[in-house]
Symmetry: C2
Subunit: 422 residues, 2 copies
């Protein structure tokens, strides 16, 4: 039915796709009753079907679900709680229905405020599925079916200290950030002066890459010199996942001009948000009304608020730090045993394991990565690959992921890697 | 709190905004317990908080809500039911989170399939809030804060037989459609050959304008001659609202290449869809994956399916025709009594009342329209204005709107118009 009724541009995960029927916490269940430990779902952030989020949604759905042309307490209570998680100057909220819509809106704002249409992005990045988001997503425009960047876009190198041109010891954060200046010059030369710098606070499609120390502070300096604005894309990595901080940009000690949110924000409910400064919000209100039919409705707001409350009540940020640190140490230990484990990186519960055929040449092992994912699935553990070379195993489970899940993941990965070596 | 926490580009309805707390069927209730008859919400299509839609959502939310990289029965059952409502050739579905995302995707498809980037739109149209949708929405790019059309866009006149250059008796449907050919030439001259013609099947922001007979058939003929594809935007008017047919394009006896859906599709749940032909879907699958994190998830699909079932079970399309016809006749009767009622138009439960200061010159009466809306609100009836001259009262209630609601609406409007005359 799926092949007949849905577009062929939507593929399924795994060689043999899973027919899921139920989700609880960090587990998914298929139609045959098999249980899977979900290590890749950063959308169902506080756990599949979290009882509080479910209850709040069920209650509000039955009472009222209409648009934001009326006053309603949920949207303002939610906006207040959301801005409390952010640095002071980020205090004006806009609600939409997805991360793509959030990044779309952020770009419109940065352009309206700066009066400049050029965009600087980081190589390998993905910011959404609309025309303009594909235009600013190297992951898409340089990928299969892509047509390269439009003239208003310039990409800088991924600040990758494993595979890229600078290592952490080379003052990589500073050096990579200088490329933004070159990119700005290129855009100016093409009469598309830069209005925005988009950057995921930890690179996701790029291969779970943690930005080198000082990258964002230096980048922000260059961006402001060029009269552009910095959009922190927290769609994949926000909401406590990185453990040490609630927002991943905070790990770099920088305050963006605009922050975009999606995926985990509603634990699966279609929701997105943009938070910015009063100044930018005022510039954006140039007479053109911005209205999202669904964004910020009473149900979406109730769900978003419930997610924030659960994060707090269950101390999931701290939990992500603790479990994530243990998991990273466990994965690191595999590095000693398997030549193929070239790099283990990440922060909190957003981790990546890069597989290589040779630790000197860093020749990627895409085939092994894909075999590992398939074999782990047979063991009841869901993972997937990412990165431009498709050789990074990504780990970003619901934050309720436990120490014993972590132990099981490392032990199983150990066994699977061992089996594949023979 | 709202002024402090939300962006100023989002305005509220009415001079004194309503603080809504509950919705039931065609009624909204405010915090003071006042009841309002909702005559403008075409999103809560089968009625606010429809019990079946609520129950289905409540059930699925508690069981599973994850993405479409897994197999799940809801999405395919929903896609099957949805395609059954459409002409045979429209049989491949894509699910997204909003009408804006649906139109965004439709444009990407039309461009991929045609290899041409130009877009022809109808004046006054609104197709969404993303950068590219603003680019193809004259309602936005010609409105406050707008910067005019980009070079890849050309607008044709609204085929308005009340205020425009052709009347129904002039073979308006044919004549207006010929403008598409001129627009195509202009686009070709600017090296943006037309790939898509976007048209709402009844013009909404344009002022509730019913397309003249033959418009879409003629338009489609021109569009195909130009090697472009026709996108029917049913975001505002689809799902049985027009009464005689399930889709408003069907009233013109034409079959589009792509149909986009939003607003009513999930009765308020953030959902959108694009349905197209297998051929276009195959062209779009050019190697670039299209993935929507939230689109088509088990909850959204369950809700969408429930809306289709309710429409069928409660015969709401037939109901819209019957109640809408009576309502239109009632509104027509006001034309005889009030010079200001210049035109009453629409189809099913998508109606417009255009107010003028002079029936000969058609000088619009924007002030009266806005007074009527405010005074009707005092009578507990929610309406709003639309159209480029802001003088059209729009009527598009949840489809459960009854004969007695219709009588009440007409009688109250009669009294309000009478009071305002004195």
């Amino acid at each position: 039915m799926r092949r007949r009724l849905l577009g062929p541009s939507l593929s399924t995960s795994y060689g043999e796709p899973i027919h899921v029927v139920r989700g609880v916490g960090q587990y998914l269940y298929d139609a045959e009753g098999n249980e899977y430990l979900d290590c890749v779902n950063n959308v169902c952030h506080v756990g599949h079907c979290h009882p509080k989020v479910v209850r709040v949604a069920q209650e509000q759905i039955a009472v009222l679900n209409t648009n934001t042309r009326y006053l309603h307490e949920n949207i303002v209570q939610y906006a207040e709680k959301l801005t409390e998680t952010l640095p002071n100057r980020l205090d004006v909220c806009f609600f939409v229905s997805s991360g793509s819509e959030a990044n779309e809106l952020a770009l419109r704002m940065a352009r309206a405020h700066s009066g400049r249409d050029g965009v600087i992005v980081v190589d390998g990045a993905y910011h959404g599925n609309t025309s303009t988001m594909v235009d600013i997503s190297p992951y898409k425009y340089n990928g299969p079916g892509g047509k390269g960047p439009p003239s208003f876009v310039e990409a800088v190198s991924m600040p990758d200290t494993y595979r890229g041109k600078y290592r952490e010891r080379d003052n990589a954060g500073y050096k990579y950030a200088q490329e933004i200046s070159t990119a700005a010059t290129a855009l100016n030369d093409r009469s598309h002066p830069p209005g925005a710098f988009f950057c995921e606070s930890v690179l996701s499609c790029g291969g779970q890459i943690v930005l080198p120390a000082g990258y964002l502070t230096n980048a922000y300096g260059v961006v402001r010199e060029e009269n552009a604005f910095y959009v922190a894309d927290e769609v994949q990595v926000g909401f406590g996942r990185v453990g040490t901080h609630f927002w991943a940009f905070e790990t770099q000690g920088v305050v963006p001009d605009i922050v975009t949110m999606g995926k985990p924000i509603g634990n699966g409910h279609p929701l997105g948000a943009v938070v910015t400064t009063r100044e930018i919000a005022e510039s954006f209100a140039n007479g053109m009304e911005y209205f999202s039919t669904f964004g910020g409705n009473p149900v979406s707001s109730a769900v978003g608020l419930a997610v924030l409350e659960v994060l707090e009540e269950e101390k999931l940020q701290e939990h992500a730090l603790e479990v994530g640190s243990g998991l990273k140490a466990g994965l690191d230990s595999l590095k000693g045993r398997y030549e193929a484990v070239g790099d283990v990186r990440g922060i909190g519960l957003f981790l990546g394991v890069e597989l290589v055929r040779d630790r000197e040449t860093l020749e990627p092992d895409r085939k092994l990565a894909s075999q590992v994912v398939e074999n782990m699935k047979k063991e009841g553990i869901l993972l997937s690959t990412d990165g431009p070379l498709h050789n990074v195993i990504k780990i970003k489970p619901p934050l309720v992921f436990s120490h014993s899940d972590s132990t099981r993941l490392v032990e199983t990965l150990d066994r699977v890697l061992s089996d594949l070596r023979h």
